[in-house]
Amino acid sequence: GAGVSQSPSNKVTEKGKDVELRCDPISGHTALYWYRQSLGQGLEFLIYFQGNSAPDKSGLPSDRFSAERTGGSVSTLTIQRTQQEDSAVYLCASSSMAAADTQYFGPGTRLTVL
């Protein structure tokens, strides 16, 4: 597709369950980012992938959060043993080598933990 896509658009889960969120970046973009946006707040950086380099995980809030990027394209953000405070919109962005500063965002996945 032309833009960043994410799935599912909405996810409702029970406390303690694991969830997986998917991101398809813009074709050809080498960098991929995950952010979290809590209700009425700005975006909080979680993790960043650039090509085959080791990811920057400095924003992950706990060891329950992890992410993978397979084949330098699709990424999956996994949250284990979800807690109610994990409820938020999870946004994925990608950027190209030519314009690495400019990040383009997907529509997000709204996660609700009951």
Binding site: L43, M97, D101
Partner: protein, 113 residues
């Protein structure tokens, strides 16, 4: 930690007016800034960017002004339309490829007809 903030959480304007949304940043090393528009239920949409070697940049109906002396960024929207209603975020980046953007909390722009 250093962060980007916005002066006003909300701004209400009449259709046809010009809107000015302000942002203050604290990282003097930041040299790239972006404005995003986020409509309800959608991801942030790129509007316009500016590098620190510029003071002003214009797009279609939008202008970004950068004052490095006082570390202030503003977004001007000309002839505001109801479709401009959204939350506007400024974000900063120190010029390192791949560095995560630092976002403020956003200003909600409401445009009434």
């Amino acid at each position: 930690g250093e962060s980007v903030g916005l002066h006003l959480p909300t701004l209400s304007v009449q259709e046809g007016d010009n809107s000015i949304i302000n942002c203050a940043y604290s990282n003097s090393a930041s040299d790239y800034f972006i404005w995003y528009k986020q409509e309800s239920g959608k991801g942030p949409q790129f509007i316009i960017d500016i590098r620190s070697n510029m003071d002003k940049r214009q797009g279609q109906r939008v202008t970004v002004l950068l004052n490095k002396t006082v570390k202030h960024l503003s977004l001007q929207i000309a002839a505001t339309q109801p479709g401009d209603s959204a939350v506007y975020f400024c974000a900063e980046n120190v010029n390192q490829a791949g560095t995560a953007l630092i976002f403020g909390k956003g200003t909600t722009l409401s445009v009434s007809s």
